[in-house]
C-alpha cells in the first residue's frame, strides 16, 4: 500500500466512521494481518474499543478475518475496498437511473449498513418512501420487494457468504471463528418471503413526548417475536457489477464521441447481450453473430440489416479496435475487445492530462511517441515539426515528470555513452500507475482542505445550525413574521456572506473529489486488466 493510499483510506474512515475506527483501520492497512491482541497492543487502545471498531469494519466488508493455526484469528483490512467509499454516490446514482427511487434507496441503505437481511431493507425503504409521500398514502412492501428481486436478478446486489448452521448437539466445541462459505449457485437467489405490510410514517412531534419509552417497548416487542424468516441471509452491494456497468457506459460514450449515436447503440446492445455470459475481467466478450445483434436491437431503432452490417464493418475496421471481427459464420461474428477498449480509454486520459498540464505542443510530442513507440531526439524534432530547442525543453519537462522515459540501446557491449542510442518512449502502464498515485494524493489533499475550511468556520456553522433549529421550532408552533425575521437577523450580513462562500467552496471541493474518482476508475480498470489473475 502506497503512502498516498494509506493517507486517503484513513481520511475516508475518519469521515465516515469516526476516530477510533480510523485508528484501527489505518493500523491494519499499514501492518497487514494481525490478531486481536496485537492490534490492541500496538494501537494502545482498550480491548473493548478494538472489538467494537472491528465489528463495525467487518459489518461494512472492509475487514475480513481468517482462522489460522492454533486457533488464532487474524484480521485483514481491504485497502482497495476502503477506497471504494469515494464511489458510493456514483453507485447510488446509477441505481437511481436504472431502477428509480426504490432502487436508489435500497442501494443506499445497503451501503449505509454494510450488510442487511432482505426483510430489514424492505422495511426501512418502505418507511423512508412513505415519509416522502402525501399524507394518507403508504408504500407497499410488495413493490419494494419487486425492485429488490430485480436488483438481485441483474446481479447488482448479492448474498454475503453464509455462516455455517450450528447444530445444538455438536460434540466438539464451536470453532473460534466461523468459516463463511460463499455458495456460487445461491449468490443471487432471493429467499421466498411473504413480505406483507406497508411503510410506517414516523409519528409527529406531539406523540413523541412518550417517545423515549415507546421505542424501548417496541424494541422489546421485536425481540420477543420470532426471528424473521430470512434470518442469517445477508445481502451486500455487488461492487464489481457496478464497475462493469461503468465500464460499459464509458465504452459506449467513447464510441458515440468518435463515431455516431447509432454505432454507440449497436455497441451498447452487444455489451448488454454479453452481460451475463462474459466474466468481468475477460479480455473480450463472447462472439455475437450479426443476426443476433440485429434481433436484439432496441425496438425504437429501425435500421435495415445491411446498414447494421456496414456499421459493424466500420466499427471493426476502426484503428481504435473497440470491436473486432472474430469469424464469418452467422453473417459475421463480432466481439467487443474489452481490454483494448480500457487501454484506449486510459491512453486518452493520459493524453488529455499531458495536454492540460504542458500545452498542446507537448501533447503532440506525446501522441507522436505513443504512435511511433521509440524515437530519438532528432527524430522527435523532425516528425513533430517543432524547433529543436523547444522540443528538447518539452521532452525534458515530460521526462522529469515521468510521463516519458528513456530507453538505452547500446551499440557496443561496453555500453559506452558515445556509442549508445537513447530513445524516448512512453510506457502507458507505468505512467498510468504514476497518475493513479497522483490521483489518490489529490483526493487526500482535497479532503484535507475541505476539513480545514469547515474547521475554520466551525463556530459560525454551529451558530447557523442553532438559528435554523430555532426557526424550525418556531415555525412549527406558529410564530409571526416579525419574530421569524428577528431570529433570521441574528446572523449578520457579513456572516451570511462567509457562510455562502464556505458553502460554495465545500461544494466545489466535493464535486472535484467526485470527478477525480472518475479518473481513478478509468486508470484502475486499465491497470487491473493488465494484471494476470492466477
Amino acid at each position: 500500500m502506497t503512502q498516498a493510499e494509506i493517507k486517503l483510506c484513513s481520511l475516508l474512515l475518519q469521515e465516515h466512521f469516526g476516530e477510533i475506527v480510523e485508528k484501527i483501520g489505518s493500523h491494519l492497512i499499514k501492518t497487514g494481518n494481525q490478531p486481536l491482541r496485537m492490534i490492541a497492543n500496538d494501537t494502545e487502545m482498550s480491548l473493548d474499543q478494538v472489538k467494537k471498531a472491528l465489528c463495525v469494519l467487518i459489518q461494512h466488508n472492509l475487514v475480513t478475518y481468517q482462522l489460522q493455526k492454533r486457533g488464532i484469528v487474524e484480521y485483514e483490512a481491504l485497502c482497495s475496498r476502503v477506497l471504494r467509499i469515494l464511489r458510493y454516490p456514483r453507485y447510488i446514482y446509477t441505481a437511481k437511473t436504472l431502477y428509480s427511487d426504490m432502487g436508489e434507496l435500497i442501494v443506499e441503505e445497503l451501503l449505509l449498513n454494510g450488510k442487511m437481511t432482505m426483510s430489514a431493507v424492505v422495511q426501512k425503504v418502505a418507511d423512508r418512501l412513505t415519509e416522502t409521500m402525501e399524507d394518507g398514502k403508504t408504500m407497499d412492501y410488495a413493490e419494494v420487494s419487486n425492485t429488490f428481486v430485480r436488483l438481485a436478478d441483474t446481479h447488482f446486489i448479492q448474498r454475503c457468504p453464509q455462516a455455517p448452521e450450528t447444530s445444538e448437539n455438536s460434540a466438539a466445541p464451536p470453532p473460534p471463528a466461523p468459516t463463511l462459505e460463499a455458495n456460487e449457485k445461491d449468490m443471487y437467489m432471493v429467499p421466498n418471503l411473504n413480505l406483507i405490510g406497508k411503510g410506517k410514517r414516523r409519528r409527529s412531534f406531539g406523540d413523541e413526548d412518550n417517545g423515549e419509552h415507546k421505542p424501548k417497548r417496541q424494541k422489546q416487542d421485536a425481540d420477543s417475536k420470532e426471528p424473521p424468516p430470512d434470518d442469517g441471509i445477508y445481502w451486500q452491494v455487488n461492487i464489481d457489477r457496478f464497475h462493469q456497468h461503468f465500464r460499459d457506459q464509458a465504452i459506449v460514450s467513447a464510441v458515440a464521441n468518435r463515431m455516431d449515436q447509432t454505432s454507440s447503440e449497436i455497441v451498447r446492445t452487444m455489451l448488454r447481450m454479453s452481460e451475463i455470459t462474459t466474466s468481468s475481467n475477460a479480455p473480450y466478450t463472447q462472439p455475437l453473430s450479426s443476426n443476433e445483434i440485429f434481433r436484439s436491437l432496441p425496438a425504437g431503432y429501425n435500421i435495415v440489416k445491411q446498414i447494421l452490417d456496414q456499421y459493424l464493418t466500420l466499427l471493426a475496421d476502426d484503428p481504435l479496435e473497440f470491436v473486432g471481427k472474430s469469424g464469418d459464420s452467422g453473417g459475421g461474428m463480432y466481439i467487443v475487445n474489452l481490454h483494448k477498449a480500457l487501454a484506449s480509454l486510459a491512453t486518452a486520459t493520459l493524453e488529455s492530462i499531458v495536454q492540460e498540464r504542458f500545452g498542446s505542443r507537448c501533447a503532440r510530442i506525446f501522441r507522436l511517441l505513443l504512435r511511433k513507440k521509440h524515437l530519438e531526439q532528432k527524430q522527435v524534432e523532425d516528425f513533430a515539426m517543432i524547433p529543436a530547442k523547444e522540443a528538447k525543453d518539452m521532452l525534458y519537462k515530460m521526462l522529469s515528470e515521468n510521463f516519458v522515459s528513456l530507453q538505452e540501446i547500446p551499440k557496443t557491449p561496453d555500453h559506452a555513452p558515445s556509442r549508445t542510442f537513447y530513445l524516448y518512449t512512453v510506457n502507458t502502464l507505468s505512467s498510468a500507475r504514476m497518475l493513479l498515485h497522483r490521483c489518490y494524493k489529490s483526493v487526500a489533499n482535497l479532503i484535507e482542505r475541505r476539513q480545514y475550511e469547515t474547521k475554520e468556520s466551525k463556530r459560525l456553522l454551529e451558530k447557523s445550525q442553532r438559528v435554523e433549529a430555532i426557526l424550525a421550532s418556531m415555525q412549527a408552533t406558529g410564530a409571526e413574521e416579525v419574530q421569524l425575521q428577528e431570529i433570521e437577523e441574528m446572523i449578520t450580513a457579513p456572516e451570511r456572506q462567509q457562510l455562502e462562500s464556505l458553502k460554495r467552496n465545500v461544494n466545489k471541493i466535493d464535486a472535484s473529489e467526485n470527478q477525480v474518482d472518475e479518473t481513478i476508475f478509468v486508470l484502475e480498470s486499465y491497470i487491473d486488466s493488465t494484471v494476470k489473475k492466477a
Binding site: 465516515h16 469516526g18 473493548d48 467494537k52 454494510g114 466461523p178 555513452p417 558515445s418 466545489k508 467526485n514
Partner: protein, 215 residues
C-alpha cells in the same frame, strides 16, 4: 582509453552530448541544488469542473451520505471531543442515540469479538444510575454517606447521583471517583467535627447521626 576530453582538467561528459540534443559548446541549463518547491507554479489553469444535473445530484448524494453516516450507530466518536463544551441537549441526544444501539450478528463473527457477559452486566448496572453496584463496599460507604448527609441537606446526594449518571460506561473510574468524592466530603466532615469542639447545638445534632467517633 576512451574519452580523455579536450583538455586536462576540463569537465567533459562521457558521451557525445549531441546525442541528447545539446550543440557543442552551448551553455547548459543551470544545475538546481534545492528540492522542488512545495507549490510549483502551474503553467496552465485547470479545466473547469463538469457541471450538470447528474453532477449536482451526485454532489447532494455525497453530502447526504456523509451526514447520515455520522448519525448511524456505526460512527464511534472520540469521547474526549464530545465533552469539550458540555451542552444541556447532549444528555437527551445521547439517550436517544443509545436506543439505536447496533448489535452485530454474533454467528458471523469470531467468538473473541463478543464482549464477555460479566462486563456487560456491570455496564448496564452503572447506566441505570441506581445505587446497587456489584461492589458491596461501595454500597456500604454510600449508605453511611447518605445518613451523614441528611443533616447537611439533600443537595449533595443529588449531586452524587448526577455525577453517577455522567460516568456511564467507565465503571472503575466511576467507582474510584465516587470514593474520592466521599473522601472529600468526609474530610469536610472531619474538619468541621474536629475544629468546632464547642457548640452544644452542633454537637447534639451530629451525635445522633454519626457512626464514627468524634475526634
Amino acid at each position: 582509453m576512451a574519452g580523455s576530453g579536450k583538455g586536462r582538467g576540463r569537465a567533459a561528459f562521457t558521451f557525445n552530448i549531441e546525442a541528447i540534443g545539446f550543440a557543442k559548446g552551448e551553455t547548459l541549463p543551470e544545475a538546481v541544488f534545492k528540492p522542488t518547491p512545495l507549490f510549483p507554479p502551474t503553467g496552465f489553469k485547470p479545466v473547469p469542473l463538469k457541471m450538470g444535473e447528474d453532477e449536482d445530484y451526485m454532489l447532494a448524494l455525497k453530502q447526504e451520505f456523509r451526514g447520515s453516516m455520522k448519525k448511524m450507530p456505526y460512527f464511534i466518536a472520540n469521547k474526549d471531543e464530545n465533552q469539550a463544551i458540555e451542552k444541556y441537549s447532549k444528555k437527551y441526544l445521547q439517550m436517544r442515540k443509545e436506543s439505536m444501539e447496533w448489535i452485530p450478528d454474533w454467528r458471523r463473527l469470531p467468538r473473541e469479538m463478543k464482549p464477555r457477559k460479566k462486563t456487560k452486566k456491570a455496564v448496564e448496572k452503572t447506566k441505570k444510575a441506581k445505587v446497587d453496584t456489584t461492589k458491596s463496599n461501595v454500597d456500604v460507604l454510600k449508605k453511611i454517606e447518605e445518613l451523614e448527609k441528611k443533616g447537611d441537606g439533600e443537595e449533595k446526594s443529588d449531586e452524587e447521583k448526577e455525577k453517577e449518571k455522567d460516568k456511564e460506561g467507565e465503571e472503575e473510574a466511576a467507582n474510584e471517583q465516587e470514593e474520592y468524592d466521599e473522601e472529600e466530603h468526609e474530610e469536610e466532615n472531619d474538619y468541621i467535627a474536629s475544629y468546632f469542639e464547642d457548640g452544644d447545638d452542633f454537637g447534639a445534632g451530629s451525635d445522633d447521626n454519626m457512626d464514627e467517633a468524634t475526634y
